[in-house]
C-alpha cells in the first residue's frame, strides 16, 4: 500500500521508533522496506495507520511531526555524542537515547518525546493484532443492555 505522507527515510525512523516505544520486534521486511533491490516496499500496518491518520491532521501538526522525526533521527550526534543516527543505534544505545528525551530538562524535548510516543502507540495499539490485551471493545457490554 502506497503511503501518502511519510518518505522512505521517515518510514524507517517511524518503524524503529515504534519498535522501541512499544517494546516489540517487527519482522525484518518492515524494517528496511526501501532497499535498492526491494521490488515493492512493505510497510507495517502500524505505519500505514499512522500515515493515514497524519494526512488528516492540520498542516502545522504535520510539519511538527516531520521535524520531530528528523530531529530524533539525527539527535544522537547532538545529545549522546554518537555519530550514528537513531535507526542505526544498538538496542541498548537506542533505549538510552530515548530516555534522554523522556527525562530531558528541556520541556520541548519532553514534549516531542510524548508526541512521538503517543503517535506510535495510537498506530500500534489500534491494530487488531494487539487485541491480545482485551476481549474486544467491539463486544457489547452486558451491563449496558
Amino acid at each position: 500500500m502506497a503511503l501518502k505522507f511519510f518518505s522512505p527515510t521517515e518510514v524507517e525512523i517511524l518503524t524503529a521508533l515504534t519498535e522501541h516505544m512499544a517494546g516489540i520486534d517487527f519482522p525484518d521486511v518492515w524494517k528496511r522496506p526501501y532497499g535498492h533491490e526491494a521490488p515493492m516496499p512493505a510497510h507495517s500496518p502500524t505505519v500505514i495507520t499512522i500515515d493515514t491518520f497524519v494526512v488528516g491532521l492540520p498542516l502545522s501538526l504535520q510539519v511538527q511531526l516531520r521535524r520531530a522525526l528528523h530531529l530524533f533521527q539525527w539527535g544522537p550526534i547532538l545529545f549522546i555524542g554518537s555519530l550514528r543516527p537513531f535507526t542505526r543505534l544498538s538496542p541498548r544505545d537506542a533505549e538510552t537515547y530515548i530516555r534522554s528525551w523522556a527525562e530531558s530538562r528541556f520541556g520541548l524535548r519532553r514534549r516531542l518525546f510524548r508526541g512521538l510516543r503517543d503517535v506510535t502507540f495510537l498506530g500500534y495499539y489500534s491494530q487488531s493484532a494487539t487485541g491480545i490485551y482485551q476481549t474486544s471493545t467491539d463486544e457489547p457490554g452486558a451491563e449496558g443492555r
Binding site: 517494546g23 495507520t49 491532521l57 530515548i98 519532553r110 502507540f121 495510537l122 452486558a142
Partner: protein, 533 residues
C-alpha cells in the same frame, strides 16, 4: 433541511433571522428554541453530519472524524491535551453522558461576584428541567453500573468519602462500552446516547432550520456596531482533506494551492448571530473577525478542568471497557458551598486501548509489561476545578494559540487528588498504582505515595488532559471585565449572542454539558421573547 458542504459547487447566500454557529450543546439548543419560536434559522457546522451507524472502533479514524485537530489539539507548550468535538452534535457525540445540574453555589457566585442578573438557581431551574426532558436524562440503574464503577464506589466507601451514582442521557443501549468515547453506534432518538445530534438538532430541522455541515465560519460580519451576518466556506470534496483547511482562515490560504482558491462560500445575512463554537473556536472566530473588544477580555479567563489519570492494577480482571464507562463519581473533595473556587472530582476512567497506552508511563518493554495488565486496570481521573486561567489568541494565520499554565495552588490540588485517587484504589484492592509520568514510579503501598509530591506536576512530564475548556467570552455586568452581558449579548456588538461554555465567568467544577444547554435555552428564549434584538 441539511446541506452538506461537500456537495456544494457554487457560492450560496442566505437571508434569515438568526445564524447559529456551532451545533453542540449550546448551538443545537439555541437553534431548536429559536426555530420553534418561529424565527428563520441557519446553523453553520464546521464538521460532518455523522451517521452513527458508520462509527467504528478504530481510534485514529474516529479521532479525525469527531475531534478538532484529530484529538491532537494542545496548549502551545504541549502540556495539556485538549479534546473538543466537531461535527453535528459537537462534544455531546463523544462525551460520556454525565448530566450534572449546575451547582447552586456556582450560580450564586456568578450572580453576586459578576453581577449577572436572573441567574439564581430558581431562574436557571426551568431551563435545566427542559433540557433534561429533551435529552431523556434519568438515573443510572444499579444493574447498569459496571465493574470499574463498582470498584471505585467500593474504594470510596472504604475511605468513607462522599460519592454518588450519576444520571445520564442514554436510552437503552446495545453497544455500551468504552468505545462510547468514539461515538455511540446505537445513537438514535430514544436509543443509545442522546447527543444533540439525535435530540435537539432533529427538532430544529423539523421547525425549518437549515443546517450547513462541512461549513467553516470565517468571519462574523458587523456594520455600525450591529451584527449583520456571517461568512463561511464549504469544505467540499478534496477540501475536506487535508484538514488543516478547517482551522485556518483566508489569511492562511495564500500559499498558491490551487485547490484552496476553488472554495465555495456561504454568505449569511441575519439580524442576530448566536456564537456557539466552543471555548476555543468562539474566541478564535471573534478575533479573526476583528470584532470590538473594549475590555480586552476576549480569549482570556480560559479554564480547562485539567485532568490526570491514576491507574490501579488489580489481581482480578476488571474489563473496564465493558458497560457504561462512567456512572459514579467521588465529589468528596469538591465542596463548592464552603470553597467555591477549588476542589476536584475523582471520576472513573476507561477508554480504547490506544488511549490507555498513552496514559501509561514509560516506553519499551516496561510499557509493554504494564499493558499486559490492561484487563486488570481500574483507573480514575482527577478532574480539577481550576483557578488557573489561560488565554486563547490567534496567530498570523488565524489559528488558535492556547496558553495555559497551572498555578502553584492548582498543582498542589492535583497532587493531593493523585494521592487521594491512589488511596481509593488501594482501599479497593489495587496491588499497584500507575501514573502517567514519562518515567515509571512504582507505588505498591500507601507509604510510597510521598513520591508523587517529590515528582510534582511538571509540564510534559505527566499527561494532562482537558475536555471542558470554558470561560473565554465570559458573562458579566461590567464591560471592562467581561465580553457579554447577563443574557449572552455582546457588550460591544448589538445582535451578537454567545451560547456555549465560553460564557462561564469561572470554572464550573463539574461536567458542563447540562449547564451549557440550559444557558443556551435561557439565552434563546429571551432572544425570541424580545425579538428583534
Amino acid at each position: 433541511m441539511t446541506i452538506q458542504g461537500r456537495d456544494v459547487r457554487q457560492d450560496l447566500r442566505e437571508t434569515v433571522d438568526v445564524c447559529v454557529i456551532g451545533s453542540g450543546a449550546g448551538g443545537a439548543v439555541a437553534a431548536k428554541e429559536l426555530a420553534q419560536a418561529g424565527l428563520s434559522m441557519v446553523v453553520l457546522e464546521a464538521g460532518e453530519n455523522h451517521d452513527p451507524t458508520t462509527f467504528s472502533r478504530h481510534m485514529p479514524e474516529m479521532l479525525l472524524r469527531l475531534f478538532w485537530e484529530g484529538g491532537m489539539r494542545t496548549t502551545h507548550d504541549g502540556s495539556v491535551l485538549i479534546s473538543q468535538g466537531r461535527g453535528v452534535g459537537g462534544s455531546t457525540v463523544h462525551n460520556l453522558c454525565y448530566t450534572v445540574r449546575t451547582p447552586d453555589p456556582i450560580l450564586e457566585r456568578w450572580e453576586t461576584e459578576f453581577g449577572i442578573r436572573d441567574l439564581a438557581p430558581s431562574d436557571l431551574g426551568p431551563s435545566l428541567d427542559r433540557v433534561e426532558v429533551a435529552l431523556g436524562v434519568k438515573p443510572i440503574r444499579e444493574k447498569q453500573v459496571n465493574k470499574l464503577n463498582r470498584i471505585i464506589r467500593q474504594g470510596c466507601q472504604a475511605m468513607n468519602w462522599r460519592g454518588v451514582i450519576q444520571r445520564h442521557n442514554r436510552g437503552p443501549c446495545p453497544d455500551c462500552s468504552a468505545g462510547c468515547l468514539l461515538g455511540c453506534r446505537a445513537s438514535q432518538p430514544g436509543i443509545g446516547k442522546q447527543s444533540m445530534a439525535v435530540s435537539y438538532i432533529p427538532q430544529a430541522l423539523a421547525a425549518g432550520t437549515r443546517l450547513y455541515t462541512d461549513c467553516f465560519t470565517e468571519t462574523i460580519d458587523v456594520e455600525n456596531g450591529r451584527v449583520v451576518g456571517a461568512t463561511a466556506r464549504f469544505l467540499s470534496g478534496d477540501m475536506r482533506l487535508p484538514r488543516q483547511a478547517d482551522t485556518q482562515t483566508d489569511r492562511s490560504n495564500d500559499s498558491g494551492d490551487k485547490r484552496r482558491r476553488e472554495v465555495c462560500r456561504l454568505t449569511v445575512r441575519s439580524k442576530a448571530v448566536v456564537l456557539a463554537a466552543g471555548a476555543i473556536n468562539s474566541p478564535q472566530l471573534w478575533l479573526n473577525s476583528c470584532l470590538p473588544d473594549p475590555g480586552k477580555q476576549v480569549g482570556r479567563n480560559l479554564h480547562l478542568h485539567p485532568a490526570i489519570f491514576v491507574g490501579g492494577i488489580f489481581d482480578e480482571e476488571v474489563d473496564a471497557y465493558q458497560g457504561i464507562p462512567q456512572s459514579f463519581y467521588v465529589d468528596h473533595f469538591l465542596d463548592l458551598a464552603r470553597n467555591p473556587d477549588s476542589g476536584y472530582l475523582l471520576m472513573p476512567a476507561s477508554g480504547p486501548i490506544a488511549l490507555v497506552a498513552a496514559s501509561m508511563p514509560s516506553f519499551g518493554r516496561e510499557h509493554r509489561d504494564l499493558m499486559q495488565s490492561y484487563r486488570s486496570l481500574a483507573a480514575l481521573l482527577v478532574l480539577l476545578h481550576d483557578r488557573s486561567s489561560g488565554r486563547v489568541t490567534v496567530n498570523r494565520r488565524g489559528v488558535p494559540v492556547i496558553r495555559y499554565r497551572l498555578s502553584r495552588a492548582d498543582r498542589a490540588s492535583l497532587i493531593e487528588g493523585l494521592i487521594h485517587g491512589a488511596q481509593l484504589l488501594f482501599a479497593a484492592g489495587a496491588r499497584e498504582i500507575t501514573l502517567p509520568y514519562t518515567r515509571r514510579i512504582v507505588i505498591k503501598r500507601d507509604s510510597d505515595l510521598e513520591v508523587i509530591r517529590q515528582r510534582g506536576i511538571v509540564e510534559n512530564d505527566i499527561l494532562i488532559a482537558s475536555s471542558h475548556p470554558q470561560g473565554t467570552l465570559r458573562m458579566g455586568s461590567v464591560p471592562r471585565e467581561s465580553v457579554v452581558d447577563s443574557y449572552g449579548e455582546a457588550h460591544a456588538v448589538k445582535g451578537l449572542f454567545v451560547a456555549d461554555a465560553s460564557l462561564f465567568p469561572t470554572s464550573i467544577g463539574i461536567p458542563p454539558m447540562l449547564t451549557i444547554a440550559a444557558m443556551a435555552d435561557r439565552i434563546a428564549r429571551r432572544l425570541a421573547a424580545n425579538w428583534p434584538p
